[in-house]
């Protein structure tokens, strides 16, 4: 349920990142509305992770602005990031802390109110109650993903960034995660930016996709109609064709 009248969960304007000899992002502009799931697609090196790192404040843009729930990330970093969270396959929770300890640690960093109650709710929500005292390093891939998602939703984010959240999951676990994310979006509180290389997943989950190549948006639209509009049978065919042409 996209809330079009509410302020954007994420507003990226003329974002640019240049390294000494390489342009990683070139004048990228888009927004994510509350309740909307936007897919960020593109081949390896297209600029997806660069974009996510900049939205998380881990990488400084060369130019452009990022607003999260109307807070300017460069000038109001703490307020902007209090309203953001993320889960990524390459950013697992510290393996030497238990699931509950990790949630307590990150809950304090994010200033979550009623933290103990919220942790219990997240453990319940992601079927982690029996694992609350298990060190994260001992969890299976699926359990680690659930723990990372519990951390990502701990602060009730207005903007959720998910970088290939189902990459290491079996089809059943991936389906459960997709359902949870769709349910979250349906509340209309949270905008979600989702990267994935699984085009079937993108079609089933995302309301809109942005196709990046060489740091620019090449295509944008509804993932269920975009392929047909460009003469391709499926989103995967479109992805392959555009990647090879660009």
């Amino acid at each position: 349920m996209v809330i079009a009248s509410a302020p954007a969960a994420l507003r990226v304007v003329h974002l640019r990142k240049a390294y000494s000899s390489k342009l990683a992002l070139d004048d990228l502009s888009f927004q994510v509305m509350p309740g909307e799931i936007v897919g960020l697609l593109g081949p390896n090196g297209a600029g997806k992770t660069t974009t996510i790192n900049m939205i998380l404040g881990l990488l400084e843009p060369s130019a452009g602005t990022i607003h999260i729930d109307e807070f300017d990330l460069s000038r109001q970093r703490a307020q902007a990031l209090e309203r953001t969270n993320f889960a990524a396959v390459y950013a697992t929770l510290p393996g030497n802390l238990t699931v509950a300890e990790n949630l307590m640690f990150f809950g304090l960093l994010y200033g979550v109110q009623g933290l103990r109650t919220r942790i219990d709710a997240m453990l319940e929500e992601f079927d982690l109650v029996a694992l609350r005292n298990t060190r994260c390093g001992l969890l299976s891939s699926g359990e680690q993903t659930r723990a990372a998602l519990a951390k990502a939703l701990l602060n009730r984010p207005r903007l959720l960034l998910l970088d290939e959240p189902t990459a290491s999951l079996d089809p059943s676990a991936a389906q459960l995660i997709r359902d949870k994310i769709r349910t979250l979006a349906s509340t209309g509180r949270c905008g979600i930016l989702w990267t994935s290389h699984n085009m079937h997943e993108v079609e089933s989950v995302c309301d809109r996709v942005l196709f990046l190549s060489h740091g620019k948006v090449l295509l944008e639209g509804d993932p269920r109609t975009l392929a047909g509009a460009h003469g391709d049978a499926s989103l995967e065919d479109l992805f392959i064709r555009v990647t090879r042409q660009s």
């Binding site: 390294y19 950013a91 030497n96 802390l97 307590m104 640690f105 200033g111």
Partner: protein
């Protein structure tokens, strides 16, 4: 600066200690070995020296104070390295936690771990070797404060080095106190050092502490002027250390190093 994120950084370290009590072992073992080793050396020197000088307060007291400063430095840098080892930078720095809050959390952690080491040293030095440490009186608090601030500064700079040069540069961090110890004049007066070493020593706050302590033990008055000088120097160095870390962090955010840090850690 908010209290809860700082508490989170400290709590995380306490969780690590609770989950793996063996981490306490190096906090107390090395300082205990130092005190026992130097305790017997001083006892032996007292027995063979005809000078009548009591080596216990000068040598054992020096070891105790220097180890305290070293433990504080390692407390900061080890807490920082825990985030390097567990590849936690992305989760940590993508949160609202500010650099100041993070550093403050590391410092509080080092107070707890350094305090534990100090307590062990005091128990051994006074219990076994009869070091009358507290007879030094009020200057002791000033000595400890200067060494504490110096240890914090060194820990922050060491963490900045690892952040700037990557996880593999961790090995640069451990020998730092040993490299500085000849200049700190822990066991001998500054006057025995060659002029160029004295010049370096004057830039290190511990040299003022140990010089002042030796003067006091030799029956001199409270070394007010050198202690104030050492304290000012330590405060200035703390500000510089904070600025260095902030600058290295900003550079890491600008260049993308922070985002790549976990991947480089795997290399």
């Amino acid at each position: 600066m908010k209290i809860r994120p700082i508490y989170g950084v400290v709590l995380r370290q306490l969780y690590l200690l609770r989950g793996s009590p063996v981490r306490v072992f190096p906090m107390v073992t090395w300082v205990a070995i130092d005190i026992v080793l130097w305790g017997f050396i001083t006892r032996y020197l007292n027995s063979v020296s005809a000078s009548g000088v009591n080596f216990v307060p000068t040598l054992l007291g020096g070891v105790l104070l220097w180890d305290f400063s070293t433990r504080i430095m390692q407390g900061v840098s080890t807490a920082f390295l825990e985030d390097v080892w567990s590849r936690n930078f992305l989760n940590l720095f993508a949160s609202p936690l500010s650099v100041t809050e993070y550093i403050t959390g590391l410092v509080i952690t080092s107070v707890l771990t350094g305090g534990l080491g100090l307590a062990v040293m005091l128990v051994l030095a006074t219990g076994i070797f009869h070091l009358q440490f507290f007879t030094v009186g009020a200057p002791l608090a000033a000595f400890l404060l200067v060494l504490f601030v110096f240890g914090i500064s060194l820990g922050i700079v060491a963490s900045a080095i690892v952040l700037r040069l990557g996880p593999a540069s961790e090995w640069l961090l451990w020998p730092l106190p040993a490299l500085l110890s000849p200049f700190a004049a822990v066991f001998y007066p500054l006057a025995v050092l060659p002029p160029w070493m004295q010049w370096v020593a004057h830039a290190l706050p511990p040299s003022y502490v140990f010089e002042g302590m030796r003067g006091l033990l030799a029956g001199g008055s409270f070394p007010r002027a050198p202690l104030i000088e050492g304290a000012i120097l330590a405060a200035v160095q703390l500000i510089i250390a904070g600025a260095v870390y902030a600058r290295v962090y900003r550079r890491a955010v600008r260049s993308g190093l922070l985002a790549r840090y976990s991947a480089e850690g795997a290399a």
